[in-house]
């Protein structure tokens, strides 16, 4: 899809604890594109996502949101257009499921405003989308791991950003919810002009739901391009230090280890 990029990284170098995450990385994401980030544990996928979200400063280079450097935008203005799903829930005080989802409206509300009925309707719709209908008044601590994951995803849906940055969105989800929720995101990205970057450990989910892929080999070495071109048995074997084979089946390709 054409148009001005929603999110760009120019000459982005990121390091954490003396370890290089990426070097001189160039990224450009336009509306309708979804980028899958793959790499072994500890290679820096989360660090990269947090840098793209503006939560940490890069060593060099810059991140641009709709052609404006993140450093020149207020946190609130960033949050209106860029949403982050974190890999792990943080320590938090007790709250209900509905209250937690409503938090996603925060960047869109004026300083003095309370959430309106329309905001509550948005939150309820998102909870319905992720299959948490009927649990609105439940304490969020009473949810299972997978339900909590879907609640976090619902909060990002309530935030309704232009750019989704999702850190392992499929983690803890059962097969049905992996497919339905990633399918929903893909559809939203393609039909509503959004862009998406997500880290994944499941190559097949990346092949199925991502238009582009970024492989992180460690030591700052990255490889990116259209998913079809980048996700090959050879690249993936090198990425995971494990033999990976591609098998054809009627609906496309699938990858199996060993």
């Amino acid at each position: 899809m054409n148009g001005a990029p929603l999110l760009e990284a120019n000459g982005l170098s990121v390091a954490i604890a003396g370890k290089q995450v990426c070097r001189e990385l160039e990224l450009s994401l336009t509306a309708g594109q979804s980028l899958g980030v793959l790499g072994s544990n500890g290679v820096g996928k989360t660090t990269l996502l947090h840098t793209l979200a503006g939560l940490r400063a890069p060593a060099t280079g810059e991140v641009r949101l709709q052609e404006m450097p993140l450093t020149q935008l207020s946190r609130r203005s960033v949050a209106q257009r860029l949403g982050l799903l974190m890999q792990q829930p943080e320590d938090s005080l007790p709250a209900t499921v509905l209250e937690t989802a409503l938090i996603g409206r925060h960047p869109h509300l004026d300083f003095w405003r309370w959430e309106s009925h329309a905001d509550v309707a948005i939150a309820r719709r998102a909870l319905r989308t992720v299959g948490l209908e009927g649990l609105e008044q439940r304490s969020q601590t009473a949810l299972s791991g997978g339900e909590r994951r879907r609640l976090a995803l619902a909060t990002v849906l309530v935030q309704d950003p232009l750019v989704f940055l999702l850190d392992e969105p499929a983690q803890q989800l059962d097969l049905h919810h992996q497919l339905s929720l990633l399918g929903l995101l893909k559809q939203r990205v393609e039909s509503a002009g959004r862009a998406l970057i997500m880290s994944l450990h499941d190559i097949n989910l990346a092949a199925r739901f991502c238009s582009h892929a970024l492989l992180m080999f460690g030591e700052g070495e990255c490889l990116q391009g259209p998913a079809d071109a980048v996700l090959t048995a050879e690249n993936l074997s090198r990425l995971y230090h494990t033999p990976v084979n591609a098998v054809s089946w009627p609906n496309g390709r699938a990858f199996v280890a060993g």
Partner: protein, 328 residues
């Protein structure tokens, strides 16, 4: 949240509770007065004696204890957000220890009255600064680091306090123990705590939605556009100063700051736009009732009010905790 239906019930209910607590406090004592007599005295009628009892003796003390209770509950609610820990109370970061050290040093030196208050406030400020400097260290603090620093400093103050108690004797030691338990019988300024609590509420209420977001986690709050660093710093300083003012007025009264915000989280929920005003009203009312009991139950002897807050609060809290459905 849209103005929740329960808000419409709870706010007037808590205001009513506060008014009842005031009536009780102004009426009860060695000269019992009916609510009508109290009202006459306040409105400038009634006889000389009841006017003097109400306006000069009981009202200042009632305002003081109400404001102190409100400040402690408000501070507790803020500390719980700061540390994302429902076990946090106003004293957890060592403010009361610093204040106690100041007050006890003054008592040890044979000082009294406003000197004790001044020394307590100075001690609290010292403790706030020390914890801040140590926890902040090289940029940024985490809740855990802040908590551990605060607890370590509090333990240090505790040891010094024990040392002072051991070194002193007789009436000085009794005065020290009373101070430590929390006590309103000292001379104190009437208006300062009330002014601080009103100003504090006015300052914090506009940011209550930010507190709701921060309560869900620091990184999430940052990602949702909350300026986390300035906000957490403001909470630390704000909550510590509320505690410092409260402790300076009446010593380290336990329990109110931990349990009132908790009881409210269990009953009216965790939205700080409701929780902060509710905490101020409920904390104030609880301490006002407790102080009224403290000075009247064993009259003419006065009990330390901290003993009474525990006696009233512990059963109430345990009841609510057991009644709450599901895990916290």
């Amino acid at each position: 949240m849209q103005p929740h239906p329960r808000l419409l019930i709870w706010l007037p209910a808590l205001v009513l509770l506060a008014l009842v607590a005031f009536c009780l406090s102004l009426g009860v004592g060695s000269t019992p007065l009916s609510p009508a007599a109290v009202w006459q005295a306040i409105s400038g009628h009634g006889d000389e004696l009841s006017r003097m009892v109400v306006l000069q003796l009981r009202l200042p003390r009632a305002m003081d204890s109400f404001a102190v209770g409100g400040l402690l509950a408000l501070s507790g609610a803020l500390m719980q957000v700061l540390l994302r820990n429902p076990l946090a109370d106003p004293y957890i970061l060592g403010v009361s220890g610093g204040a106690a050290m100041g007050a006890l040093s003054a008592l040890f030196a044979g000082l009294a009255g406003l000197w004790v208050n001044g020394a307590a406030f100075a001690g609290a400020l010292l403790s706030i600064l020390v914890v801040f400097a140590l926890a902040h260290g090289r940029g940024g603090w985490t809740p855990t680091r802040l908590l551990l620093t605060g607890i370590a400093i509090a333990a240090g103050w505790g040891a010094l306090i024990s040392l002072l108690l051991v070194l002193s004797s007789g009436p000085t030691m009794q005065a020290m123990l009373f101070w430590l338990m929390g006590d309103f019988s000292y001379q104190s300024s009437d208006w300062l705590p009330l002014v601080v609590i009103f100003a504090g509420l006015l300052l914090w209420l506009p940011f209550a939605r930010h507190l709701n977001v921060l309560a869900r986690g620091e990184t999430l709050a940052e990602a949702l556009g909350v300026p986390v660093r300035p906000l957490t710093l403001a909470i630390y300083i704000g909550a510590s100063l509320f505690t410092a003012v409260a402790v300076t007025q009446a010593g380290a009264i336990g329990f109110v700051g931990l349990v009132v915000p908790h009881m409210l989280r269990l009953t009216i929920g965790g939205d700080h736009r409701r929780l902060l005003p509710a905490a101020a009203l409920a904390g104030g009312s609880l301490l006002l009732v407790a102080d009224t009991l403290a000075r009247s139950v064993a009259a003419p002897r006065q009990l330390p009010v901290g003993v009474v807050t525990a006696a009233v609060g512990v059963p109430l809290f345990l009841y609510l905790l057991n009644r709450a459905r599901g895990p916290l």
